[in-house]
């Protein structure tokens, strides 16, 4: 019942708009009716263009997300574990974090060229900060009593991080991965706006320059679906590792 309720507004609006255009109340040129958007999507899919652009964008996000996640996790774990490292790198990283990531674009283009490398670097930067901050912040606040259990069993360094700290922060880690992924999708558009010959961002610019609003809406829809899908993947992949949680959100399983 609940999902149906949520669909009522968007579907209702779409149907109303379709009817309005069919009745000739609007020519639907700037705001294409659902049927036109659907035809555009079908055309793009038939020629293989849609798949091509989706693949290009997905690859960029995947590469940037992987890089940003690895860097954010490693630096976040080290800074969380060691107060000295934290004192050393955290102020600088917090300073860099305050820079809107889009501001890096000109520099990245100068350094890394106009092609893939600079795009992936920008996405990686976007993903890095929420992941770094999430891991570091969560490790610092792990319950001292749990850490002491690790110490009693003579764990330190990498073993303490792997067996106590990372599992303890896993729930907030997943949240920061999702936040990072969201930013990754945001920055892939920025990256593709700055000059790309393929990708969904290119499709948006192409639609604008050639006056094809249906193509823009089609690309936006593709972004929505992909963003939701990849987010769901992260949640689904982490769910088996989080079954131990005893929290408000999970249904009671107590016997």
């Amino acid at each position: 019942m609940r999902p149906a309720l949520g669909l009522l507004v968007p579907v209702g609006l779409a149907v109303l708009w379709e009817i309005a255009v069919r009745l000739g109340l609007s020519d639907g040129r700037l705001v294409p009716p659902p049927s036109t958007v659907y035809e555009t999507l079908a055309d793009l899919a038939r020629t293989g263009e849609l798949q091509h652009h989706v693949a290009a964008t997905l690859l960029r996000v995947a590469a940037g997300f992987a890089l940003g996640t690895v860097a954010g996790t490693v630096l976040g774990a080290v800074a969380g574990y060691s107060g000295i490292v934290r004192g050393l790198i955290d102020p600088s990283l917090q300073g860099l974090r305050a820079v809107p990531s889009i501001a890096w674009i000109p520099l990245f283009i100068l350094w890394l060229g106009i092609f893939e490398t600079s795009k992936i670097a920008l996405i990686a930067v976007g993903v890095f900060f929420p992941v770094y901050l999430g891991v570091m912040g969560a490790i610092v606040t792990v319950d001292r009593k749990i850490v002491e259990v690790g110490r009693v069993f003579r764990l330190s360094g990498a073993a303490l991080v792997r067996r106590i700290l990372l599992p303890a922060v896993l729930p907030s880690y997943v949240v920061s991965l999702r936040a990072g992924l969201g930013l990754g999708w945001m920055f892939v558009i920025a990256a593709e706006f700055m000059g790309a010959s393929e990708g969904l961002g290119y499709l948006l610019i192409d639609g604008q320059q050639l006056g094809k609003p249906a193509e823009i809406v089609a690309a936006i829809l593709a972004f929505a679906v992909l963003g939701k899908l990849t987010d769901w993947l992260v949640v689904a992949a982490s769910a088996p590792m989080l079954r131990w949680q005893d929290v408000y959100g999970t249904s009671p399983q107590k016997s």
Binding site: K145, E148, V149, V152, R154, W244, Q245, K254
Partner: protein
């Protein structure tokens, strides 16, 4: 042999928790430390466990100074402190990482059987009752076969029935390997049930007030006159440790009134 040699502890905030405490515990002996709050009894356990370092003096186990957590020293805290992301069996096997899987499985299964929780092996810690969780904590500490097991008010968070149950259970487990037990508690009954020796501590700074040997035969009947007598001796020592006046009437020590309020 566990030796605590003139150990003092002053915390960075200036709190003087322990003052030149000396205590020798023989292998397999059960020593119970009691005392009012602030007498440094939990501090003592943390120093012996190697989690904290003494300001002066040393903890020596079998001739080696303990400077960090030691593989022959296990500890059970007031809370179970189970790792919520590991199943009960994996919690018990936590200290066996690095051993062959078959050996680990075998020892975990045997220890779980010993604490009567074989049927809970695969459940998450959150699904356990307080008493069950504390039994898992005991199993986790014992599975590595420590020479010394430290227990910091291990049953104080449990209801009275579960508490006596677990006291008997602890003695039962102790009989398997006969490790040295150093127990901190503020439950005088618990002290008399468990102890070969009760150490009554005196607060601010923490030091030994009196040592009472409790050599009643085991199992001990909590209702017996001898049990009650031992309890009175500990309670009056506690009164003295807190500088309470004890009224003497016809040569008999009346410690009861103070005893009821000692904590």
């Amino acid at each position: 042999m566990l030796e605590i040699n003139r150990v003092s502890k002053t915390y960075p905030n200036g709190a003087h928790a322990l003052e030149a405490l000396t205590l020798a515990v023989a292998l397999g002996e059960i020593v119970v430390v009691v005392g009012g709050s602030g007498c440094g009894k939990s501090t003592l356990l943390r120093l012996v466990s190697g989690l904290d370092a003494p300001s002066e003096g040393a903890v020596v186990l079998d001739g080696n100074t303990v400077t960090a957590p030691h593989e022959k020293i296990g500890i059970v805290f007031q809370e179970p402190r189970l790792l919520p992301w590991l199943s009960v069996a994996n919690n018990v096997g936590f200290g066996l990482e690095g051993r062959p899987r078959s050996e680990r499985n075998r020892r975990v299964a045997a220890q779980l059987d010993r604490v009567g929780l074989t049927d809970k092996a695969t459940v998450w810690p959150r699904e356990l009752s307080g008493g069950q969780a504390q039994r898992v904590a005991l199993a986790r500490a014992l599975v590595t076969r420590p020479e010394v097991l430290l227990l910091d008010e291990p049953f104080s968070a449990l209801d009275a029935f579960t508490r006596t149950d677990l006291q008997d259970h602890l003695l039962d487990l102790w009989a398997d390997q006969k490790p040295t037990l150093l127990v901190v508690t503020h439950d005088v009954d618990e002290a008399i049930v468990l102890a070969d020796r009760v150490i009554v501590m005196r607060p601010r700074p923490g030091r030994v007030q009196q040592e009472i040997v409790t050599d009643l035969p085991r199992p001990r009947d909590r209702q017996s006159a001898a049990f009650d007598f031992a309890k009175r001796r500990v309670l009056s020592a506690l009164d003295l440790s807190l500088d309470r006046r004890i009224s003497v009437d016809d040569g008999q020590t009346l410690a009861d009134e103070g005893a009821a309020r000692w904590w």
